[in-house]
């Protein structure tokens, strides 16, 4: 028994003592699903958040010229690792705020058991579950990605406007796919459209041909794929194209992935469109695209715009709050309230000056204007994209 007690005590001590204590830099957590089911999406998301941090540091840093540091944590998209990473970030690294986690399940667990009780603000770039809206979060949980609800409905209206009255829907059986699909279905049917096939699928299967055959048997010529374009969504799209199950393909932001045309070829994707949240001033998106491309990133990767915005917003909030972690959440609302001087992606020096002068600012990001509602959600504006010669091209805004 003695050995046992000593071993536990020693191990606990060791674990805590080895962690280097925080120093003068200001840290924010970048918690994402680095390993696990969305591993393919996480690296560019973290890279774009890191871009925001680099821009901050290149333009004077935060507060009195301190360096902003992004501490990467791995939530592996499950609550176990998510809460561990968040607790570590908050308590050991001493972060003032967290960008992430990426997956809704991890967001719910982290918010409920770590950050809300500890009073730390978090902003997720990709947790799209409607459940996050109803969190009792003491106003500390934000997101730069609209709830699935909005996008699903917007996509339904847009399709009807474009004259598509009958579709089949294939959605990934997780919070993202299901949330979008349900919103899409109710709006599409309410506005007079017909859903001629509606089925969930598990990710990571090799063949979806029988799923597609089932969906196609309803007689629709348009398939709505609510999945990830570098995951099973790609497999589904490929098999639908190769076997000629449908003529037109529609995706949401998850499908707006370069993997689609890189692997399938743009020439094969002429009938494929995908929606994605964009800022009202598309200038903001262009600025981000330029900066991220220069940094070696791929601006059309999934959730990179929301990740960038989340990190930039968080930096602004930290600056506004004077580095006080208890005030970050309140500051978040002030810097993107819809009124004040407009700040676009990368305009850190300008924002820092204005904040120092006590003037109101309003961040308008690459993925939207981010005027948070009372739940910390953003309504989001969307545009529809098609695949052109140079990747995705915007073909029109969505209502």
């Amino acid at each position: 028994m003695k050995l046992f007690q000593t071993a536990i005590a020693a191990a606990l001590l060791g674990a805590t003592a080895l962690a280097a204590p925080a120093h003068a830099d200001v840290k924010i957590g970048l918690i994402g699903g680095v390993t696990g089911p969305i591993a393919a999406m996480a690296p560019p998301m973290i890279a774009s958040a890191q871009l925001a941090i680099d821009q901050v540091n290149a333009n004077g840093g935060v507060l009195d010229g301190q360096k902003l540091i992004g501490v990467v944590g791995d939530s592996a998209c499950n609550p176990q690792n998510g809460t561990d990473a968040a607790t570590k970030a908050v308590n050991i690294e001493g972060v003032v705020a967290i960008v992430g986690p990426h997956c809704s399940g991890a967001v719910l667990a982290v918010a409920n058991s770590v950050t809300v009780p500890a009073g730390i603000a978090i902003i997720t770039p990709s947790g799209t579950s409607p459940e996050i809206t109803s969190l009792d979060d003491k106003d500390t949980v934000f997101r730069t990605v609209p709830s699935d609800d909005y996008q699903g409905r917007a996509l339904a209206r847009t399709l009807l406007d474009r004259g598509t009255k009958k579709v089949a829907v294939a959605y990934l059986n997780n919070d993202y796919g299901k949330g979008l699909a349900e919103a899409f279905k109710s709006e599409f049917e309410a506005k007079g459209g017909e859903i001629a096939g509606y089925a969930a699928h598990e990710g990571e299967k090799a063949s979806y041909r029988s799923n597609l055959a089932e969906l196609a048997s309803g007689g629709a010529d348009t398939l709505v794929i609510l999945d990830y374009g570098d995951g099973s969504g790609l497999t589904l799209l490929r098999q639908a194209l190769e076997n000629g199950f449908f003529e037109n393909f529609v995706g949401a932001d998850g499908m707006k992935s370069d993997a689609t045309f890189k692997e399938l070829g743009a020439e094969n994707l002429t009938t494929f469109v995908a929606s994605s949240p964009v800022g009202e001033k598309s200038e903001a998106l262009e600025m981000f695209n330029k900066a991220f491309s220069e940094a070696g990133g791929d601006p059309s990767a999934i959730f990179v715009t929301t990740s960038y915005d989340a990190a930039f917003l968080m930096a602004l909030a930290v600056e506004k709050a004077g580095g006080d972690k208890t005030k970050v959440a309140a500051a978040m609302r002030e810097i993107s309230s819809g009124s004040g001087e407009t700040i676009l992606p990368g305009e850190w020096a300008k924002a820092k000056e204005l904040i120092a002068a006590g003037k109101a600012i309003d961040y308008k990001g690459a993925a939207g204007d981010h005027n948070f509602d009372e739940k910390g959600d953003v309504p989001g504006a969307y545009a529809l994209f098609k695949v052109g010669a140079n990747g995705f091209e915007m073909i029109g805004e969505m209502k």
Partner: protein, 318 residues
């Protein structure tokens, strides 16, 4: 020096260790003392977590329950539900030898996971259940963490003492006899299948309780939590590393694995941030390597079963 931060993290880790220790104890009853290769821990964990969630969360549209009952009702319900699920599975699967039982239980756990992910009316499907009350959860962050730690420690202690007592009893001796030489035990007139079923159900109930404690700690439960990697294989690594057949070993294994998991992140965080993502994979690699080293140099675990009580499971040649 932010010692309070370290202390907070240590408390968090201790809570996790206690919750996983329940899973590990449950598995120890099944594998360590009875020789049942249950590779579907995630399934029982899930049943417990969701049962308690349904029983204790406030009413919600579109799914079963939201009965808003006190947390302890949920926890008892979790154990009962896990035991009830274990009964038919055990009835069917315990006829098979270790590897087959393993694969059968993996299959059952996967089916449970798919049901939880897909059935709106039962579990709110992929979105999971939130608003699960945490006892004493209204206190400040540190106090509520400490309070929860107290609760889970007390539960773990009770479970540990109960299991120890049971193992020291004639029942425990009989279980070990069955494990080490089933034919001899059968020849002595023991009702071997019934005894094994008992152990399977008892262990599964503890796993269900672990799931419930986990759900209440996070105040939410989503299907991602029942991924076989984190809810099944991790527990196995913990038990084998700690020393199966020894309850203290089972608990120590949990502590060591969580701490190594944590430390490995601190180590891989030393890489420049360009490599931050790759470092997370390196971390997984290191965990795998660590497992190899333990199996190679300390295959009986850190705290082996007391000598004289045990022969190795299975003959070397079989």
């Amino acid at each position: 020096m932010e010692w309070i931060g370290f202390a907070n993290y240590a408390v968090f880790m201790a809570i996790f260790i206690c919750i996983y220790a329940l899973l590990s104890l449950g598995l120890n009853i099944q594998w360590g003392f009875t020789g049942l290769f249950n590779a579907g821990i995630a399934g029982f964990f899930a049943v417990g977590a969701y049962t308690s969630a349904v029983l204790t969360s406030p009413a919600a549209d579109g799914r079963l329950g939201g009965f808003d009952l006190p947390f302890w009702v949920g926890w008892i319900g979790a154990m009962v539900a896990a035991a009830l699920i274990a009964w038919p599975i055990g009835k069917i699967c315990l006829r098979f030898r270790s590897d087959y039982l393993a694969i059968a239980t993996i299959g059952v756990a996967e089916i449970i996971r798919l049901v939880i992910k897909s059935e709106d009316w039962l579990t709110n499907s992929a979105r999971g259940i939130t608003d699960i009350p945490r006892p004493l959860g209204d206190l400040s962050y540190t106090m509520s963490q400490l309070a929860y730690l107290g609760i889970v420690m007390a539960i773990l202690l009770v479970a540990y003492l109960m299991v120890e007592r049971q193992i020291a009893s004639p029942w425990g001796r009989m279980m070990r006899a069955i494990r080490d030489n089933e034919d001899a035990a059968r020849a002595m007139g023991k009702d071997v299948p019934y005894r094994r079923l008992e152990a399977f159900i008892f262990g599964s109930a503890l796993m269900g309780l672990g799931g419930a404690l986990f759900a209440h700690f996070n105040r939410s439960i989503t299907p991602e939590a029942i991924d076989p990697m984190v809810a099944t294989f991790l527990v196995w690594i913990m038990l084998i590393l700690g020393g199966s057949g020894n309850n203290r070993g089972a608990i120590l294994g949990v502590a060591v694995v969580w701490i190594i998991w944590s430390l490995s992140e601190i180590v891989t965080d030393q890489f420049p941030h360009e490599y931050a993502v790759k470092a997370k994979y390196l971390r997984i690699f290191l965990i795998g390597l660590m497992l190899q080293l333990v199996l190679r140099f300390r295959p009986e675990g850190l705290l082996p079963e007391a000598s004289g009580e045990r022969k190795p499971v299975g003959k070397p040649s079989d």
